[in-house]
């Protein structure tokens, strides 16, 4: 069973790198840091659940995961960032595929909270998952939303923070578990590259009965799975690999 998803992840990782190489555009390291989180959510969420990507620059990761689960066609990945493609550098809302448009940080999270509120108003079942970045937690609207979610008792809202330490040059968003707890949330930490741990934290039965909104701070590595990117995430943040690099990364991914 474990072998299966490891094989899946290798293929998705390769799809992300290939996509960005082909487009000569995109954010590979962010896509790689969220890969296991997205995989776990899309593998386990039921049809009443919804997912909002707030850190839109992880788009390549999202597209590759959606292609893996058959939500979009694999060959469509080749159109990533093309002039007439619907798979842009940041996702644009499309029914059945992307719940929200993103790109500017600090927007997807309050939109997801609004959607969670609408489900409460309409008495609809299901949970709302939202993926935000640790850097994104610099935005004031993240904390406005954290306040709202607690006050509005949005127990159907699950925020996953991709804590990939990308903020080490900035005034870093530290101690996010404590911060979310201080805002009245249930908050826990997890290894963001360990799929069984993510699944057990978010999808085990006890996780579904919190009376508060739930924040999972996922410790991740930017560029996970490609050593050159893990070692130099800043150079690779927004960069496409050359043909030679592509071959090297392929060998590394499938080794």
């Amino acid at each position: 069973m474990e072998i299966d998803y490891i094989k899946d992840l290798k293929q998705i990782r390769w799809d992300i790198v290939k996509m960005v190489h082909h487009a000569k555009e995109g954010h590979i390291p962010s896509g790689l840091s969220v890969l296991e989180i997205l995989y776990a959510i899309y593998k386990n969420k039921n049809k009443e659940d919804s997912f909002f990507l707030s850190k839109g620059h992880a788009s390549a990761g999202l597209y590759a995961v959606l292609a893996h689960f058959g939500i979009l066609k694999k060959e469509e990945l080749d159109s990533f960032c093309d002039y007439d493609s619907w798979l842009g550098g940041h996702p644009h809302r499309k029914e059945g595929c992307f719940m929200n448009s993103s790109g500017s940080l600090g927007h997807g999270f309050p939109i997801a909270a609004g959607f969670a509120l609408s489900k409460k108003i309409k008495e609809e079942p299901g949970r709302v998952f939202c993926l935000v970045g640790d850097g994104e937690c610099n935005e004031g609207s993240i904390w406005e939303t954290a306040m709202y979610a607690e006050q509005l008792k949005l127990s159907n809202l699950v925020c996953v923070v991709d804590d990939n330490n990308s903020q080490i040059r900035a005034k870093i968003s530290t101690n996010l578990v404590e911060k979310f707890r201080a805002f009245g949330w249930e908050a826990q930490e997890v290894d963001g590259h360990n799929i069984p741990d993510i699944e057990s934290l978010i999808f085990k039965d006890s996780a579904k009965v919190y009376s508060k909104p739930f924040c999972v701070v996922a410790r991740t590595i930017k560029g996970k799975g490609i050593k050159a990117m893990e070692d130099d995430m800043f150079s690779w943040h927004h960069k496409a690999p050359t043909d030679d690099e592509l071959e090297k990364f392929k060998a590394e991914i499938f080794k």
Partner: protein, 301 residues
């Protein structure tokens, strides 16, 4: 005007269970009937206008019809990017309703003035802008458009006019016929424009008076009415309680781009209004009075 706002929202909210009200910690007393009758669809979101606007976007994605309400600068200028990305880019039916139009809060100073809302929101694709200036105008225009699935901004002024207008979404209304000048007014200034036209008519200067309650979109038929009037008079005076940059003056100039005409813009020049005092004092200082309009037209050879 605010009472009509509360009454209309209460009535529409009773008929349409999708209507959901978010307020930025103002108008609690005014909206108390909505709060007590529809508690599951009324939320005081406090002073967090950026997230409030995005939350409204999330409500609309799931088919609800949000009304977001606060003072003009805080629900337009402060959260402009949320309006751009989360309402307009995603083309979602959220109704923003502001009070404190232009310099209604005269004495509170420039942070509470809002002259640029129309100019900045006009630039956003999908955005619709409605500017009623009498209670019946808000009631008619809100009911007509609130569920049309587009992002909308209703600018509610404190001062209202006493004219028997017949507003229709997207349409210009001609309130007075003339030959010499096309006088286009929006908001409460329509009263001054109309009164000026009556007085000028006695002197033999006749004006077409055009009243816009929808700033965007303007129907093709209404554009035709504007172009015909401007072609006839070749003189335009626009009157607005907003910046002369990007407001109605620019809209009329855009519509009549193919016509040769001269134009005087009465409105707020490119400046901060650093005085305090009362609404009427600001109107007087900026030519936004019947006398101010007559003076401009007298000088407009």
């Amino acid at each position: 005007m605010r009472k009509q706002f509360a009454k209309t929202i209460f009535e529409v909210g009773g008929l349409d269970k999708r209507l959901t009200v978010l307020i930025g910690d103002i108008s609690h007393f005014l909206l108390r009937d909505i709060e007590s009758n529809y508690p599951s669809r009324f939320f005081n979101m406090g002073m967090a206008e950026q997230a409030m606007m995005s939350v409204a976007s999330g409500l609309a994605i799931n088919g609800l019809i949000p009304v977001v309400h606060s003072i003009a600068p805080f629900v337009t200028e402060r959260c402009f990017e949320q309006i751009k990305d989360d309402l307009c880019y995603q083309n979602l039916g959220v109704n923003i309703i502001s009070v404190g139009s232009a310099f209604d809060y005269a004495s509170l100073g420039c942070t509470h003035h809002c002259y640029d809302d129309i100019a900045i929101l006009r630039t956003l694709p999908n955005m619709q802008i409605i500017y009623p200036s009498a209670p019946h105008e808000f009631d008619i225009l809100f009911r007509e458009s609130y569920a049309n699935g587009k992002p909308k901004y209703f600018r509610l002024p404190a001062k209202t006019h006493n004219l028997s207008t017949k507003p229709k979404f997207g349409e210009v209304e001609k309130l007075h016929d003339g030959e010499c000048v096309t006088l286009v007014a929006v908001g409460p200034q329509i009263q001054n424009a109309y009164d000026a036209a009556i007085e000028l008519a006695r002197e033999g200067i006749s004006c077409d008076v055009l009243h816009l309650t929808t700033i965007k979109p303007i129907s093709e038929n209404s554009k035709k009415i504007i172009v015909e009037s401007v072609s006839k008079t070749q003189r335009v005076v626009t009157v607005e309680e907003s910046s002369i940059l990007g407001g109605i003056a620019d809209e009329i100039a855009n519509i009549a781009y193919d016509v040769k005409f001269r134009h005087r813009r009465i409105g707020i020049q490119d400046k901060f209004m650093l005085n305090y005092g009362k609404y009427d004092e600001h109107c007087k200082a900026n030519g936004l009075t019947k006398e101010g309009i007559i003076k401009i037209i007298h000088e407009f050879k």
